[in-house]
């Protein structure tokens, strides 16, 4: 069947992934209904600072290549990523940059007018393209503008301030629509579609404060999972080494700060044995600390990569330094020093983040070293998806209808909500790439799925849509009428604190078990919440309470996956199993919702590693193995 007039695709989420998919699908002649809680231009992708990776001519002539980009990403992800999709993405990257360039993204330029490049974590080559330190903002604006153009042509209908609630699945098991709620009128409604793409981003808010935007609850993915879609690698959460704590969120100081030459250090004194120890005066003005009392611990421990070791490693090192009592002011902070780079250079290359620091801390990073600490940042796990590898595994078959399709056919996951590409640890500046790659490359697969479909959503019985609308209206009613004593905001906050304490930089079996009991308590209390706002108009209180329920389900996936994975790999570090165990765990963690126990059933499935064989991941660390130094469990949890 060719695409007929009334075939449509729904895209849920208007970040980079959702917009790239929207543009690609509209361009192929199929109309798109685009749903987003926030106006798409305000999606979380605006926060991305540092840049986007791709092989380029300068790097190529120094020995870099698409294959090297692929290999770095696999190594950076501790071999947990399926290799064919990463191979395809790395080889597609240069044309994605070209396309963004044609769309008018103001990439920084060299004096000759070529696109400028910077160094980023996990690579020894400059292969990161950037627009100041607000690259994500600039990329999403370009895609937002192209989307607006298709909207003006009548090919895209936007449903902004609408929240996705549940997928609609036909009797043949294929997803053919969604139920969503208008967050102003609170109307709950079904929408038909011949394919549904989830591009709803990550779940940082499960951890309370993170570097994410306020809508990054992961609730949309959690709903698909509770509706039967498999969820993969939930326990892999990236904690970024360099954030500044705030009362409402943790604000990122991009890896580009280190890529451009920023150095991480703590005041310390070197003993006669060559070991660094506590500085007698840890709170003294950093500008007064002489060079020989500055411990550049990343540079010393990783002479090859220095400050740009991958995030999981930098984060664990910073964490350990603070646990050893070497932190600035004896607390949980280290210096990220840019003062040697000069104000003009900083403003030209890093203005976006310099301004964030000035605004929120009130100091100028050009004068004083920044004080930073790790913060929850990126969701490597996500909805489980499949793909069609090429026979030699070197890439994916273009246009294959199952490209990044979930375990529910007709439902797709693009961008951060997709578990592919980044394995156990994402390399900096690979996320923007994977989002746009999903939209463009896999968008074609969606078009083919729609064109090849034997049944059309328009012909499905109304009853399947009405059924889900009823289910969701009942949920809304239950929440609106709940008058219990428990406060959903407090439950959300306690969840975040517990998840941060038990399941981020350092984990252990007993601590995760303890978190499971806390989660059980929170779920029991959640059943007795009260919602203060009875209003049927723009009720944020209700939407928040609903998302808290979904975050509790997601927390269960994260904790159970972490418990079952009895090894350490990438961002997942367990003190009781400090080594990587390929024999047992070079596998994808798969969580399936079990309605009876209302929790996740965990299983493991093989990863396609046919192109590069797993090797030790040390990043040239001197003394011992990279980042695997056992740390004591934090005392105050």
């Amino acid at each position: 069947m060719a695409a007929s007039k009334n075939q449509r695709v729904i895209v849920v989420g208007g970040g980079l992934a959702g917009l790239a998919a929207t543009v690609r699908i509209a361009e192929s002649g199929i109309p798109v209904d685009l749903f987003s809680i926030v106006p798409v231009k305000r999606s979380h992708s605006v926060c991305a600072q540092g840049g986007i990776n791709a092989c380029n001519e300068v790097a190529r002539q120094q020995g870099y290549s698409e294959h090297e980009h692929f290999d770095e990403s696999i190594y950076g992800g501790d071999f947990l990523a399926h290799q064919p999709p990463v191979y395809e993405m790395a080889h597609w990257a240069p044309q994605i940059i070209d396309l963004l360039d044609r769309m008018g993204v103001p990439f920084n330029r060299t004096q000759e007018g070529y696109r400028d490049l910077r160094l980023f974590g996990g690579s020894l080559y400059k292969r990161t393209h950037f627009a100041g330190a607000t690259t994500g903002q600039q990329l999403i604006y370009a895609l937002d503008e192209q989307t607006r153009r298709w909207e003006a042509e009548g090919m895209v209908a936007k449903y902004e301030h609408w929240e996705f609630l549940w997928p609609v699945v036909s009797d043949d098991g294929v997803c053919r629509g969604i139920v969503a709620q208008d967050l102003r009128t609170m109307q709950v409604r079904a929408f038909r579609a011949d394919a549904v793409i989830m591009a709803t981003g990550g779940n940082g808010l499960v951890f309370g404060k993170s570097t994410n935007s306020v809508v990054c609850t992961g609730a949309a993915a959690a709903r698909c999972y509770q509706a039967g879609a498999r969820y993969a690698n939930g326990e892999f959460i990236q904690v970024h080494p360099t954030a500044i704590p705030g009362a409402d969120k943790l604000r990122l100081m991009s890896e580009s700060a280190r890529g451009e030459g920023g150095r991480v250090w703590v005041p310390a004194v070197k003993g006669a044995d060559g070991k660094w120890g506590k500085h007698p005066d840890p709170s003294r003005d950093p500008r007064q600390v002489p060079e020989n009392e500055r411990y550049y611990f990343l540079e010393e421990r990783y002479p090859k990569y220095g400050n740009i070791v991958p995030r999981d490693i930098a984060t664990r090192e910073i964490f350990n330094i603070c646990m050893e009592g070497l932190g600035v002011f004896g607390g949980n902070m280290v210096y990220l020093d840019l003062t040697h780079l000069g104000r003009e250079y900083l403003e030209r290359k890093l203005l976006g983040i310099i301004e964030i620091y000035r605004k929120f801390v009130g100091e100028d990073p050009a004068d004083v070293p920044m004080r930073i600490f790790p913060g929850v940042h990126y969701t490597m796990g996500g909805l489980w998806t499949t793909y069609t590898p090429k026979p030699d595994l070197k890439g994916m078959v273009p246009g294959a209808p199952n490209s990044m399709m979930c375990s529910i056919p007709g439902l797709y996951a693009f961008g951060e909500v997709n578990y592919q590409y980044h394995g156990a640890n994402r390399l900096g500046a690979n996320a923007l790439l994977s989002c746009i790659f999903d939209g463009l490359f896999c968008g074609r697969g969606v078009v083919n799925h729609v064109k090849n479909a034997s049944r059309a959503a328009a012909d499905e019985p109304q009853s399947i849509y009405d059924g889900v609308v009823k289910q969701e209206e009942a949920r809304v009613k239950r929440l609106a009428e709940s008058k219990g004593a428990e406060n959903p905001y407090h439950i959300g906050r306690e969840l975040g604190e517990e998840m941060t304490a038990a399941s981020t930089v350092v984990k252990s079996g007993p601590r995760l078990e303890q978190a499971m009991s806390k989660l059980a308590e929170l779920r029991e209390r959640y059943a007795r919440i009260g919602v203060d706002d009875p209003s049927g108009w723009t009720n944020q209180n209700l939407a928040h309470a609903r998302a808290v329920g979904d975050m509790l389900a997601m927390a269960d996936v994260i904790l159970r996956g972490g418990l079952e994975r009895r090894e350490s790999r990438g961002s997942h570090y367990r003190t009781d199993f400090p080594e990587r165990d390929d024999a047992r765990f070079l596998k994808t963690t798969v969580a399936e919702w079990d309605g009876a126990s209302k929790s996740a059933k965990i299983s493991f499935e093989p990863v396609e590693t046919g192109l590069v064989q797993p090797r030790a991941r040390t990043y040239g660390k001197v003394e011992g193995e990279a980042g695997k130094k056992p740390a004591a469990q934090p005392v105050s949890v």
Binding site: V46, R102, F107, G113, A142, V214, G246, D248, T538, S636
Partner: protein, 276 residues
């Protein structure tokens, strides 16, 4: 990771009061009357207007001890890059996420008043409807008309100075501060009036941005027609309020002047039948 950093990186200032009073202009929905409610909010280190609103959402009790509904507001990134959280803080339109309580107190403020933006219809409380602004971006054809998303090689090369100029214009986050502060920009409750009313500085500046791009310039004549029409650049009264409130420090008055000139030239060329 421990739950909270031992020391907070905020500068350690003088002892501050433990709580601060918020007065908030509330409204239950379109057509409903406005009313004021006050809340005493404990000030955490690093607190901003948003973290205080989050506290109120969890503890919606007024200073009279009356339990009320949580205040509704709009926010996203919490780092002044998404444009969502615009409101009037102590009468001045700005992003609320960068309104640090510490800084407000240092400036001598003893109470914080929060009001919705004045030029956009209130949806509820501090949440307003800025759809008109996005619609004007559509009217301005604020995009580069590319041939399509297939692989056609790189875009045009660009001098660093030109990139720097476009980059600044391109940081506009559609927050609407410049519109709210502009005496010429009128509140329009009825969407039918949108295309009769002044579009405001941000849209004019976007026209400049896309006219400056070599491929974007293909639509320059249409954009300038739009700028020459009712509600276009000539409605600007040159009050310069816009540029003073723009959180991104976009040179809006320069953009207005540049587009004003471009429209004049465009008109002359049209008169003589020459294409731009």
């Amino acid at each position: 990771m421990t739950t909270a950093p031992v020391t907070n990186p905020q500068p350690r200032g003088a002892q501050r009061p433990r709580t601060i009073r918020f007065r908030i202009e509330r409204c239950d929905g379109p057509g409903k009357p406005a009313r004021w409610e006050a809340f005493d909010v404990p000030v955490e280190p690093g607190a901003n207007v948003i973290s205080c609103l989050q506290w109120i959402a969890a503890n919606p009790v007024t200073i009279e001890g009356k339990r009320t509904t949580p205040v509704v507001w709009d926010s996203g990134c919490l780092e002044e890059v998404c444009g969502a959280c615009t409101m009037r803080v102590n009468g001045r339109v700005r992003q609320s996420c960068t309104a640090l309580i510490e800084n407000l107190l240092a400036a001598g403020v003893t109470e914080v008043t929060l009001q919705p933006m004045s030029k956009f219809p209130v949806v509820r409380d501090l949440f307003v409807d800025r759809q008109r602004f996005f619609n004007d971006l559509k009217r301005a054809k604020a995009w580069v008309p590319i041939d399509g998303t297939y692989n056609l090689g790189a875009g045009p090369r660009e001098k660093p100075a030109d990139q720097a100029e476009r980059y600044v214009l391109s940081t506009c986050m559609t927050c609407g501060c410049c519109l709210d502060a502009c005496p010429q920009y009128k509140k329009e409750e009825d969407a039918k009036e949108w295309d009769q009313s002044f579009v405001g500085a941000a849209v004019i500046s976007q026209v400049r941005l896309f006219n400056e791009h070599p491929t974007g310039a293909a639509l320059k004549p249409e954009r300038l027609d739009f700028m020459a029409s009712i509600g276009g650049v000539s409605d600007c009264g040159n009050a310069q309020n816009c540029v003073k409130v723009c959180p991104k420090e976009i040179p809006l008055t320069e953009s207005i002047a540049a587009i004003g000139r471009a429209v004049s030239i465009h008109r002359i060329k049209q008169f003589f039948g020459v294409r731009d």
